[in-house]
Point group: C2
Chain length 255, copies 2
DNA sequence: GCAGCCAAGTTGGCTGGCCAACTTGGCACA
DNA sequence: TGTGCCAAGTTGGCCAGCCAACTTGGCTGC
């Protein structure tokens, strides 16, 4: 919340977008209601029409409003849509739901990267990686097993963190490691022996898997992670539209 | 493909975006290479810098390039990202992979909408809905069970389609029913008796579930669907970034 | 009553310009 | 050699304006 305000404070169009989002989600325009015209909003906020359009593009991408030529924008839904940080960080996400996040570092090893890891993290042959295995809990109950591969520069920092630290993105951010872009792949996988032990489920029972590759602003990969959730604990939600889509459906590749 | 070209042909910035996408995916700028400056691209394409920025915003949303103040854009990856239509239509998706889509209508009933359906499709109390159950196949092998609820206006059209028709979005589009926005929720669910029979798997075995609510340009819901995939056949892939995110992680609600 | 036309309203798209914030590489200097 | 500063290059952001494409509601005429 504080983070949202900080980001909104940065630029004018973000402030307008934040204000409109607040108005929409609080129901000021009704559920299928129509927004004021761009020109009217421009006058209301004392900004140019271009700035209003920039703000509305954000809301359109979030699935809050439609937009087509000739008629006013229509409120699509009172949707929520968390911030990027709540998606990326288990800790942020849990706290935003009012749950208490927990975690335990099961293992941390440093070893040569295999071919797949070099490919994902864009590393030179012979590079080493840091691999962690963590159990994540919500209010004490295990919900997820997280296997993360870090490149050397990031891994060194992670290795120095105390094993019981809850959030990893926060301390990394303080060391100048930024997470800005991520690619996610979601599918189903069977629990292996480690999964079963940590999550207290049967071996072979289904888990919801999220593979995630995160990069910093320069495009350098900083993390390659594989999270396995107990079914019934989470669901992933996406909005897309003809105007802007970043979701796709794939034939499943090996592994 | 033809559809992409049609859309690209519409406006200038789409043409520029399509051209840049082609150049990037074909490797013209290298994998972690840097794009020309906005001004240079503007001159190259003989458009204003604003138009170039609009085109680059599309590529940024698709996860093809980064973008930060002070330095040139960097190529993030040679990613693919299907079009919206390939995501929304099983038929389009299958054909884009070179597979032959098939389908069989198992049942089609018309009945009063329950509370959840009225909520999702924004219908008046007492409204009726059309409910279909379809088995979807790829090159003959069953991969997915689709349960779709249509509002009356759309359902009447669907009911008139021959039961062995492969694509439903195409004939609907010809009748003026447009699909422009969709909300997706992805989780895991256990196969029930119908699922098991149609997909020839055991009852209770895990399926990847996608719930989807689609609306037309006016914001009117036109479809509420629940697709259940056999594990190992598909994976969902999403890109998001600080700049624009439409993906979120939810605590799982009932049903 | 009904169909079709028309004008007003609205968003999409594009231009040109301006300044601020930030990155980067080279240069000056210790 | 190494450190710090600085200027050029680049993207983010905002403005004002213009026209085209499209929707909608009302009016006209049959």
């Amino acid at each position: 919340m504080a983070l949202d305000q900080d980001r909104a404070a940065g630029s004018l169009y973000r402030k307008v977008a934040a204000d409109l989002r607040e108005a929409i989600t609080s129901g000021s325009y009704g559920d299928a209601g129509r927004l004021p015209a761009e020109g009217a909003l421009a006058e209301q906020y004392s900004v140019s029409r271009g700035t209003v359009r920039q703000a509305l593009a954000v809301l359109r991408a979030d699935g809050l409003v439609t937009s087509r030529r000739g008629t006013r924008r229509v409120v699509l839904g009172t949707a929520r849509v968390q911030s990027f940080s709540e998606l990326l960080s288990f800790t942020h996400w849990a706290r935003s739901m009012g749950e208490e996040p927990g975690g335990r570092l099961e293992s941390l090893v440093r070893r040569p990267a295999d071919a797949a890891e070099r490919e994902q993290l864009r590393l030179e042959p012979g590079s080493e990686v840091y691999v962690t295995l963590r159990l994540r809990t919500l209010s004490g109950t295990p919900v997820m097993v997280e296997r993360t591969v870090y490149p050397p520069l990031v891994g060194e920092l992670v290795a120095q963190l105390p094993p019981d630290v809850v959030s990893h993105t926060e301390p990394l951010r303080e060391h100048g490691i930024l997470f800005t872009d991520a690619d996610h792949t979601i599918d189903v996988v069977a629990a292996n022996a480690d999964d079963a032990r940590l999550l207290t489920c049967r071996r072979g029972s289904p888990l919801l898997r999220e593979k995630r590759r995160t990069t910093d602003p320069t495009g350098t990969p900083v993390e390659w992670s594989q999270d396995r959730y107990l079914p019934g604990t989470v669901a992933f939600s996406i909005h897309n539209s003809l105007a802007s889509s970043a979701l796709s459906r794939h034939a499943r590749e090996s592994d």
